[in-house]
């Protein structure tokens, strides 16, 4: 139905003339539904004409509530009711004035009851499929006029209760995804006051619901919370208000600290809830972008982060960035940070999907030139050892990373070039060979003796089956003329990107063909012939 959104838009502009003209237009385009909708519009117009027709409101609400059969009529009724209430509020007919008569008071009371009735059914509509967007727009529209006109004596009042009702519906288990996304993107992220009161509402919700088995509230809350990405940095940025801003300059909405406090409370309330591993990862993933910046006291995150960091596996990987944020911003002293970091280098790291993220951080952590060489060498050796069993996509970033570190810590180049000058040592080497002094199982990166070892693994990777990786690995044995490689170029590769790169290219040059046509491929050679069977034939039985 094309009219609905148009209606909403026109409604915002409050153009009476266009509202009057609409029936004829609609009658032309939609002759079938014209009846019900024309009736609704007629009722609406009557309300505006005289006070005695206020009873039409009840009729409209009835249509809105009852008319389950025709969704279009329902929407039209909702829209016209919204118009009616907005106009009533704007004209001041719903506010009790000092000189109002008893009869008027009764009318106002009745109107307010109808209004509440309308709101509650509108909120139900919020979680309905297909209508949620209209319902949300109407809700927010009502919220705005309520905040602007239904001032109960004070100078500024935000209809917090109505907003928290909306938020409760949105967070609820059966709320719709689209409405939440729209609310997050259009209102929470855009308007400072809506964000402020949403945080406030969210803080109370988890406690109110307190249903540990219900995971959806948690996920939905995170969704709304993470929508508020742009953290204001100064007071001046607090200027986008949905409802006309309070006149008093000392109002709490103007205080950055208050905003941050609300956000912090909302997040902390969320973290108090029980969460499983996935949810924890979800929070950790958003940590540096939309959680930590909101916190007045990021120290409050410390427990959460250290717990996550100690959890091991991918949770630790994700917590790493949060911990780093705290170290960087709040001077957090994490005991044996590098030891913990070193322990993260396990067999899964190069196969993990978070490896790019980890590499970016690792690059930062090891970029200091003041680190002990033994420590850096341990990281180098361990990662190159892991690269031996890694996929090409995992091994690709390791090599430029090693290059950069070797360049930064020239003492470590002993790991790629160590000439034995001592004659005795040389003789021992000749006779007994060399056992790798590196201790893979040692947990302390200072004690692994990696600096005494060599990076044979990288030499092996120079013979890797993937031509690009093999060529890349050769940079370690070339002269180190380049200052540093940009690690970003090598991250985020995968089998499919490598395959895409290979297969998307046209074959321009004539492809080489094996010269000899083998006599046998799947079957064994005759006993008499001297040709040896291929490995395939020896191992697999094709019959």
């Amino acid at each position: 139905m094309p009219g609905v959104t148009g209606d909403a838009a026109l409604l915002n502009k409050r153009k009476r003339t266009s509202a009057d003209r609409r029936p004829s237009k609609r009658a032309r385009s939609e002759s079938i539904e014209a009846d019900g909708q024309a009736q609704i519009l007629l009722l609406e117009n009557e309300i505006f004409e005289a006070k005695k027709n206020y009873n039409n409101i009840a009729k409209l609400i009835k249509i809105f509530k009852d008319d389950k059969g025709d969704a279009d009529n329902l929407v039209v009724a909702a829209v016209s009711l919204c118009r009616v209430f907005v106009r009533l509020m704007a004209s001041g007919d719903m506010v009790r004035r000092r000189g109002s008569t008893e009869k008027e008071v009764v009318v106002i009371k009745w109107l307010k009851e109808r209004y509440t009735e309308y709101k509650s059914s509108l909120l139900v509509l919020l979680s309905e499929d297909g209508l949620e967007s209209t319902a949300l727009t109407l809700c927010m529209r009502l919220l705005k006029s309520e905040g602007e006109h239904l001032l109960s004596g004070q100078e500024y009042s935000f209809p917090g209760s109505f907003l928290s009702e909306i938020v409760q519906i949105l967070v609820g288990p059966e709320s719709s995804e689209a409405a939440r996304a729209e609310f997050g993107g259009k209102y929470v992220e855009e308007y400072d006051d809506i964000r402020y009161y949403t945080f406030k509402a969210l803080k109370s919700i988890p406690r109110g619901y307190q249903l540990p088995s219900d995971r959806s509230i948690f996920d939905h809350s995170i969704e709304i919370l993470t929508a508020a990405e742009s953290v204001p940095e100064s007071k001046e940025e607090l200027e986008d208000f949905y409802i006309s801003a309070p006149k008093k300059k000392t109002h709490e909405l103007y205080s950055l600290a208050q905003h941050k406090n609300r956000a912090q409370e909302a997040w902390l309330a969320l973290m108090d809830m029980d969460m499983d591993k996935e949810q924890r990862k979800l929070i950790l993933g958003a940590m540096t972008t939309s959680v930590a910046p909101w916190f007045m006291k990021p120290e409050l995150l410390m427990d959460f982060l250290t717990d996550s960091y100690n959890a091991g596996g991918s949770t630790s990987l994700l917590a790493l960035s949060g911990v780093f944020y705290l170290i960087q911003e709040r001077n957090l002293d994490y005991p044996s940070f590098y030891r913990k970091l070193y322990s993260l280098l396990d067999s899964g790291i190069l196969h993990s999907k978070h490896r790019s993220r980890f590499f970016r951080l690792l690059d930062t952590f090891l970029s200091s030139t003041h680190l002990p060489v033994a420590l850096v060498a341990s990281f180098l050796k361990r990662l190159s050892r892991l690269a031996l069993n890694a996929t090409p996509s995992g091994a690709i970033p390791v090599i430029p990373w090693i290059y950069n570190l070797l360049k930064k810590h020239p003492t470590c180049t002993f790991m790629i070039h160590r000439v034995t000058r001592d004659l005795e040592a040389k003789e021992i080497l000749e006779n007994h060979g060399l056992t790798d002094p590196f201790l893979m199982d040692e947990e302390d990166p200072m004690e692994t003796h990696a600096i005494d070892s060599s990076l044979w693994e990288i030499v092996m990777l120079q013979d890797h089956v993937h031509p690009n990786l093999a060529t890349l690995a050769k940079i370690i044995s070339e002269q180190f003329t380049k200052h540093a490689y940009n690690l970003e170029d090598f991250l985020d590769h995968s089998y499919s990107t490598l395959l895409d790169a290979d297969l998307s290219k046209e074959v321009k040059k004539s492809p080489a063909i094996e010269f000899e046509i083998p006599k046998k491929i799947f079957t064994k050679h005759d006993v008499g012939s001297e040709v040896e069977d291929s490995l395939l034939v020896r191992l697999v039985d094709f019959s």
């Binding site: 996929t391 790629i416 089956v465 031509p467 890349l472």
Partner: protein
Amino acid sequence: MPPSQLKRLKASLREQGILRPQESKKQKKQKTQNGGNKDKRVNRTEALNSIRDQFNPFEYKWSKAPRFDATSVKNPGGKESKGSIVGRPSVRKSMDAQQFQMNQLARIENRRRVGGILDRRFGENDPTMAPEEKMLERFTLEKQSRHKHSMFDLEDDNEMELTHMGQSLSLDAPAIVDDFDEEIEVSDAEDHLSDGGPRKRRRLSSDEESEDGESGEDRPEKKKSKHEVMREVIAKSKLHKYERQAAKDDDDDLRETIDKETSSIHALLQGMGRRPVAASTSDIAGMNPDRAALLNGTDKLQAEKEYDKRLRQLAQDTRAKPTERSKTEQEIVEDKAKVQKDREEKTQRRMQGLPESSDEEEVSQASGKLEEDDEEENPFGLGIPIQKLASDMGVEDEDDFLIDNDLVASDSEIESAEDTSSDDGSEESGEEDDDAEFLQGILTEAESKQSEFLTGANSQVPSLIRISKCPESHEELLDMTEDVNDFPEFIKLIRTKYHPKFGVDNKTKLGGFTISLIDHLSYLANRKAQFSVLESIIRHIHSLAKNGYQFEISNRFRYHLKVIHESRPMALTAGDLVLLTAIGTIFPTSDHFHQVVTPAILTISRYLGLKIPQKLSDYAVGAYLCTLCLQYQRQSKRYVPEVMNFIENTLCVVAPSELSKHPGHFPYHVPKESFRIEMAIETVRRLSFSDCLPQESGQEELKAVLLETNLKLLEAAADLWSGKAAFFEVFEPGLVIIQHLSGKKCKPNLSPSTQTSVAKLIQKLTLLLQQAQLSRRPLELHHHRPLAIKMAIPKFEESYNPDKHYDPNPDRTEASKLKKELKRERKGAIRDLRKDAKAVAREALKQKKAKDEAYEKKYKRLVAEIQGEEGREAKAYEREKEWRKKGRK
């Protein structure tokens, strides 16, 4: 008031000691005795010169004294200096005038003159030269013009000489003696120095001398002067020259005689007598008589006939040409060996990622960029296209062979219609053995399988297969082969019938057929066809690839890989496995980069690396792919980490009991259901291709098979990568796993054969690891030449001169140098012009003066003449008057 010039001159003369009081005789004597006389004279002239200078201050131009002595190089000591004399303007002026007189005056005077004779004789107009000098000059000039040739020019001696009264006027030969004969022998002897030259020469010369009867043998040998030696050399070369000329003359004579006979030879060659040349044509010189005849149109008809005849002759000539000599067996073997060696070299080069042939090598430094690497390291297509290469080297061409054979068998019409080209025949004979075998193999397979192929419903004889058209897509192929049971025979027939040589568009048709064959390969494999059929299809595809369809084939394989990549990277079908196997045989898997093989390896390693096996068949597919991978790398021995990961993972999963701690760093995937071997099986069969397909039965047996296969794979991998740098790290975890397998917990559940193979493998791996450890050395990767440190310190100039430019930029230096030169030249040119103008003006003035003077003289003379005459007349008048007066009286 300063003293007068004269007084000053006297004073300075006295000062210098030139004027001095008269010396007594005694004093003079004393001085001469001391030898100071000569000294005195020198001093005297010097002193006089300086005095002269002093009294003519405007005769000299002085250079400016430097402003600060310290900044000047010329006078670094800081001594006060006035500058130095840099020019003598008056002298210069007079010299210029003289120069002008000599060079320009004549030119200026002759400026508007036309015609005349230029006298170029030496010094003809020079009165300063004596006649003798002139003659001398002429003589030297003539000599010089003679000698301007190269000093090695031997011709000059033969030229005319100036003679006087029959005697040479040459400088170096006092008498003309032809010493030709006697010196040849000497020089000849010199030629043979090696065989006792000196002695021989001595004897020879002594012989001559004795003949002359001049002196005995005891006369000491005279050492030759340089002049003599030179003369000998010249004489010798003259002799050589003469000989050469004589030989050439002989040759010319011979050629002339042969040339005379050319016409008859022509006639012989053309098989007919030379036509008598038409008289009318003889006047057109330099034109082919035939052509001339044609032009003249006298006998057009005859000429055309002639033309046809010659054309036919020409055609027959080529046919009658002798074929190339057939090679001996040894030569054939050598050629083969050479071709083989060439091939291997190329493979090696490709393996290292270099261009195929060395002369096309463009050394491109491998840069860090992966994307760039791809482009640069793609060494293919640079070289000679494979097809051309093959035919050039005379290698087998199954295509041609197939045709010939099949033609004999089936269709005699085509055979008789067109004779096969000769090169076909030669190639066939060259590689007959291979082809015969290839064909034979197909035939026998075809015959043996014909009854049971596919459905087995038909029992048609192969030759009865009807071929209506060439299938160009897989659908068409399927339609046509519905009732064909001998597929290899069908392919052969298609390839015969639609051979590119038999039709214009057969090439594209066969290309389409090739593509459909590849599709059919995977189609058949998915329908569990006979592997012998698949094998022959693969071999046919391979042969087609070698015969010019490499683009179609590789593109089709790449298309299939793309389909796998996009739709089922983790669920490979039997068809995909067969395609991957086919890629491994058709394309060189050892190449550093190959358009088909590299994506194929990536597809395999993607499955091995990312697949989390859920069923036993997944493990079987993995084992198959590992085998393929190892086979791909049989030559280049490149490391494939995924293979090791998969083998170790499978071993851990299948092992009868769990390892306490997983060694190594391969990702260990715990399967949902346990695949541990629970009981031993008596005999373990080989892994079968059908195991790769998901199935329900025989699970327990398959576990044992997988274990056994993976053990073999581990062994093969260890063999393959035994020399690698990190062999120890790669295979140590494998050893730990196998040792676990031989432990108490696992052993009872293994079959006896597996137990023995485990034990063997443990032994082998231990040995290999030991070797690896023994041969391990610290890395020494950076034995590079150290890089020069860029200099940033300014250069210190030892003897710095502020006037000089020390610009490190050579371009700028050059430019400033040029600028300076230009300025100088410009100044010089202006000065010259001015000087000339001045000289011209001076000359003009001089001439004008002379003219004026002449005029004045003439005027005066005339006036004087007239005055004289008048005076005389007046006197005569006076006299007359006097006389009359007297007379009257």
